[in-house]
Symmetry: C2
Subunit: 189 residues, 2 copies
């Protein structure tokens, strides 16, 4: 009777993998128990409930994505940094669709404030420093970048660009170019 050695961390990580395989909304305590070959109630010693599991996966994904973005933009500035930021975002979503969906989970205010979500916002602001925007333009720009990246990635993951030319990648680059142009233009005022 070997104990599988369940911990919240292992469950979270396995939940993230499960999310990528079957979709974040299919991540269930039952499925996770099956994956560890234990009975369902055993997980409730390590997880408060199923929402707790989802939140843990979300926080994990936010951290992981923030790390990737930080890595990608390190040492870059201006258009270069913008493109790196954008690509890190899109690549993560394509590689880990379930975790990406998890990262979009609506968190409570206190949870969100303690999450890696704040790093995301900081990095977006850091990139915008290269464009020399003053407030409130900088905030507007952060929101615009968040909207475009999230919106594009959502639509692409949902298959919105699948059956039409040109390829999704070309539009992505066109859009990043456009954003760069807008930001340079805004800063020139």
């Amino acid at each position: 009777m070997d104990r599988p050695g369940l911990t919240p961390e292992r469950l979270t990580r396995a939940g993230a993998e499960l999310a990528d395989e079957v979709g974040f909304d299919q991540v269930t305590v039952s499925a996770l128990a099956r994956r560890f070959d234990v009975r369902v109630p055993s997980l409730y010693s390590h997880l408060k409930n199923s929402q707790d599991l989802r939140i843990r996966i979300a926080l994990f994904a936010l951290e992981e994505l923030a790390d990737r973005v930080a890595d990608a933009v390190a040492g870059r500035a201006g258009r270069d940094a913008l493109a790196a930021f954008a690509d890190a975002y899109r690549d993560y979503a394509r590689e880990h669709p379930g975790r990406y969906a998890a990262a979009r989970l609506r968190l409570g205010p206190e949870t969100a404030a303690a999450s890696a979500g704040v790093r995301h916002a900081q990095m977006a602001r850091a990139i915008l420093r290269g464009y020399g925007l003053d407030e409130p333009d900088a905030t507007h720009a952060v929101r615009m970048l968040g909207s475009v990246f999230h919106g594009y990635v959502s639509l692409e993951l949902a298959g919105g660009f699948e059956h039409s030319a040109p390829a999704a990648l070309e539009s992505w680059e066109w859009i990043v170019d456009s954003l760069d142009a807008v930001l340079r233009n805004r800063s020139a005022r």
Copy 2:
């Protein structure tokens, strides 16, 4: 023993209302049965299953939103039409968050092709005609508009802009301005 007179249409409409009240993912066959004060299995004469219900609500929302957008952009062109399009989109999502979420449901290729989704794409292209973009720029631009609008609305509904200045509306206008500027710039080439 009055019969409530269930029909797919009435169920769909009630489902849409339910979605706005409790969220699209909380729309359940059981909740709908409670709303009509009938037993759950009674609905299965009118609905194939719970996914069928969701799809019907999605198609309904797509139609309704397309009607609104068409109304909003009628007789407008250029920046004016762009802003009307954008506002129609955002207003609908704020007014009917559940239906908006429903409209984002991933549909199968044949269902999508028969849905009002195609009208949405046509209207976006119509607006872009005012900017005189050639292919493939027009397609890139359609995708960009879709990304920004959907992304912004998602973030706003998720409460992303709630606890920070400036107000969401100001960013929205700033972003629409920016899009207009990009499109004018692209067409000038």
